[in-house]
């Protein structure tokens, strides 16, 4: 239903807020489908970061969408036909929740049965993410890093513009500032917990990075740009992001130097399970740093860009 409202509305501000609500609902749905880690990420990313990013770019562009000039009947027809074909295809698909469907036959049972013993951590999602599929995750960390660089190249860092007291309505909200000050340590502490407890419970580098950056974005929103840039200068962020990728890659290269395959964590300690544990911890730390700094960098760039009319 919210999806329909998102399509119909022309006020882009409302569209974005609704999209945030939609993301939160999706996160609840993921929770229901047993995907706790994913629900975590979706709630932090979809409802938090994406909304803030879209709003700040909306500030840089324009709020209202023009009425479409051309007929929207043809796209509707295309969409209906494609949808009908997809529904027809779904009639042959395995039933929802069926344990014998092909998805659950291939490598997944091995991950579930052997994973905890081989990697030595109860959270299978983290085990698969950082250990079995370490290469993929390395690639994805790199994609995030590249995306951050892309935004940096496209927009560049601008000097913070001078605050205009009469325009800044948030500047004098004492209650807001006090509440935010109390919330931020909790958010950061929680992010650290998610980061380092990811082996045992739900969580990991991706989620922790996003939550950590949310804390800083909140500070930015409540105290303004100058203050926020004093806490973490924007020029540090690309370096931090590179450091995260470097930690991840460094673990892999270290394994190479020890005459083991790239990203083989058993090189890190005498006991393979111990090595796995250490490796996953380091790799997740690298991912966390990269995600945190890229998201905060993108936010700094978007928020710091002065409006051009």
């Amino acid at each position: 239903m919210i999806a329909i409202a998102v399509i119909r509305l022309r006020d882009l501000f409302a569209v974005i807020i609704l999209f945030g609500i939609y993301s939160l609902l999706t996160a609840a749905l993921f929770m229901d489908l047993n995907a706790v880690d994913v629900a975590f990420t979706e709630a932090a990313v979809g409802a938090g970061v994406t909304t803030v990013m879209m709003l700040s770019s909306l500030y840089l562009t324009s709020r209202w969408e023009a009425t479409p000039k051309h007929n929207s009947l043809l796209p509707l027809l295309v969409v209906c036909i494609t949808g009908a074909v997809l529904v027809y295809a779904s009639l042959d698909a395995p039933l929802h929740g069926d344990p014998s469907s092909p998805v659950h036959q291939h490598v997944a049972p091995r991950y579930i049965e052997k994973g905890p013993a081989e990697v030595g951590m109860p959270n299978m999602v983290t085990a698969v993410l950082a250990s079995y599929r370490g290469f993929d995750t390395f690639g994805e960390t790199f994609v995030i890093f590249t995306a951050g660089l892309g935004v940096l190249l496209l927009l560049g860092i601008q000097k913070p513009h001078k605050p205009q007291p009469e325009l800044n309505t948030v500047a004098n909200e004492v209650v807001l500032k006090v509440v935010v000050k109390m919330l931020i340590p909790l958010i950061l502490l929680y992010a650290l917990y998610v980061q380092f407890h990811g082996d045992f419970g739900a969580g990991g580098g991706f989620q922790a990075g996003v939550i950590f950056s949310t804390g800083f974005i909140l500070y930015h929103l409540a105290f303004g740009e100058i203050e926020a840039r004093r806490v973490i200068p924007t020029c540090w962020l690309p370096r931090l992001a590179a450091l995260g990728v470097l930690i991840y890659g460094g673990v892999g290269v270290f394994a190479l130097l020890e005459d083991k395959p790239f990203l083989d964590y058993s090189a890190l300690a005498d006991d393979p399970v111990q090595g796995q544990h250490l490796g996953v911890l380091l790799v997740e730390f690298g991912v966390g740093i990269t995600v945190f700094s890229v998201i905060l960098l993108i936010f700094h760039i978007l928020a710091g860009r002065s409006r051009q009319s």
Binding site: I7, A35, G83, H104, I112, V151, I301
Partner: protein, 135 residues
């Protein structure tokens, strides 16, 4: 009777996907297009996660006494996909902002019109340059 709830998840996914697709192809506003793309993206996420679900299965975190777990593999794929998705959305937004700064609008039609005007101006560059000099 059993088949209808069993396939319901696919239909929800198809509906959301088509909603996102419709926004992308029918709306001219570039920010709206990005929202549509994100809608499309979440439908794929829901598709993967719902495939990983096993009825009566627990979340894939080892707990004693539980034998059936949902499939962790789709969770891993989607977990990283969400974060990569937000990063790519940010690149898209950055492009939109640059387009706005260059053209003064984020509506596709108006951008196309301006491009056409620019093209016709580029066909006779000498005269337009001459006009500048006269001033």
């Amino acid at each position: 009777m059993m088949e209808i709830p069993g396939l319901f998840n696919y239909w929800v996914v198809v509906f959301l996907m088509m909603a996102g697709f419709y926004v992308v192809i029918s709306r001219g506003n570039l920010v709206k297009k990005l929202v549509g793309l994100a809608l499309f993206q979440t439908s794929v996420f829901i598709f993967y996660i719902s495939m990983g679900k096993i009825s009566d299965g627990a979340a894939p975190i080892l707990v004693e006494g539980v034998t059936t777990y949902s499939n962790p593999l789709p969770h891993v794929l989607i977990l990283t996909a969400i974060v990569v998705g937000v990063a790519t959305t940010a690149v898209g937004l950055a492009l939109v902002i640059r387009i706005y700064e260059a053209y003064g609008t984020v509506e596709e039609d108006e951008i196309n019109e301006q491009d056409l005007i620019d093209d016709s101006a580029a066909d006779e560059p000498v005269s337009s340059l001459g006009g500048e000099k006269d001033k």
